[in-house]
Amino acid sequence: MNATKKVVLRFPSDIADRPLVCELALQFGLRFNILRASISPHREGIMVMEVIGKEKEEIEAGLQYLRQEGIGVESLSQDIRMVEARCVHCGACVGVCPTEALFMEKPSYLVRYDESKCIACEMCILACPTHAMEAVI
């Protein structure tokens, strides 16, 4: 069985141009899926990715390597939260969610949130008129 973990990587400007992420595959046999990235040489960068390995320990070892190289590694899980009591189930968030983490359940037409699909792009926070979606800092 595969283990997966979504992480936010923060690259300080002095290492943003070094090929470090590829080491996850080369050294640790991990696969990764880049969900969002904004990295330019000599500038601070940020990358959101899903890391996939056989064991949880393998993933942790890979992430530990990135930390040693100076990359900030944070877990993405629980980053965006839906406050059910504030949701009126309009669906304003559904069409702007790039991963269908927010979707309209049928036939109830209630808005549902699948956290495991969320990439924390925060589009839902912009779209929600009732402040039902919030980032947990």
Binding site: V88, A92, V94, M104, L126, T130
Partner: protein, 410 residues
Amino acid sequence: MERVLRTYEEINEKIRSGKVVVVTAEEVIDLVAEKGVEKVAQEVDVVTTGTFGTMCSSGAFLNIGHTKPRMKIHEAYLNGVMAYVGLAAVDLYIGVTQPAKDDPLNKVHPGEFKYGGGHVIQDLVAGKDVLLEAYAYGTDCYPRKHLVTWINLRDLNEAYLFNPRNAYQNYNVAVNLSSKTIYTYLGVLLPNLGNAGYSSAGQLSPLLNDPYYKTIGVGTRIFLGGGVGYVAWQGTQHNPGVERTERGVPKGGAGTIAVIGDLKGMSPHWLWGMSIRGYGCSLAVGLGIPIPILTEEILYYCSVRDEEILAPVVDYSHAYPYGTGEILGYVSYAELRSGKIRLGGKEVPTSSQSSYARAREVALILKSWIQEGKFTLTQPAFPLPGVESGVRFRNLVERPASVNSELVGR
């Protein structure tokens, strides 16, 4: 003249005796598909409709009671949101799109519009204390000049919702053809046809179930904000002459209604303050109208399905703001509600601004009120202007004036 199956009086008699047959505008669709219009029209007395969405042209009149010494309020704020006071001494109107006085608006775009008139109304109906801050210039009969006090809905003399334009009969579908994200009242619209925003309960929506206003008119008793209200007048921008489909459904925003109802009987669940990013504050209103099945034709109109209701797709990056009138095409509410529409060969995800689940809930609540004998139907005192009335929505024809020295605004 079509055969009358039942009168308002007969329906109300059945409501009082607990024998009335009520179905929602959603339930009637399957019934008609199964049994046909003729048979269902014999069986069903009332069809209930519902909608729950942002309705910007809304607000409430409040009479706060007189102070000692008396005060003729000249400027007032409720929780920091300006209310209109150009009325008698202690009468106020709080409009739902009025943002808080200290709101940064769109200075940092897109603005958040965290709190406005709609939120004040939601707080009032929730029973929360609201801070009133009022100023006056003072007169011989109204000497007081300053007032800061907590007020509560239960203590107000009168508090009634009066919404000049609600329950739009159909509406635009908004898309964005430009290359940057735009922030509209139909939601965040992603560039290059990234998504489409729409707002109608479609087959459940009141005026789409009575497309020619055969039963909904001035004086019709309705579900409003969780309480009871009435249709007060045609809504502003009422535009019955819009092009219609073969079964009479307008192919764009057409009829509207002005509604009124006692805020004291309403609920914060059905009057919900909205913060629309980059656009402003507003209020989502729950509204439902019962349709008496007086004739077969009236039932036929109630059996309309989302597949049969078409909405115009409009580019909100250019065509809408500049009023070009250009329509990119038509899509049905069945397509919109499926989550994706096809436009120019592209699959476009859809975002609804009105809640279908809540619209359904309104129709079901109204149904239960009628079944339980708590809600009877009223015959309109006066019909809404129909297709034949010639009433139409016009744009302003500007007549430029060179009177700069006399201008008083900023």
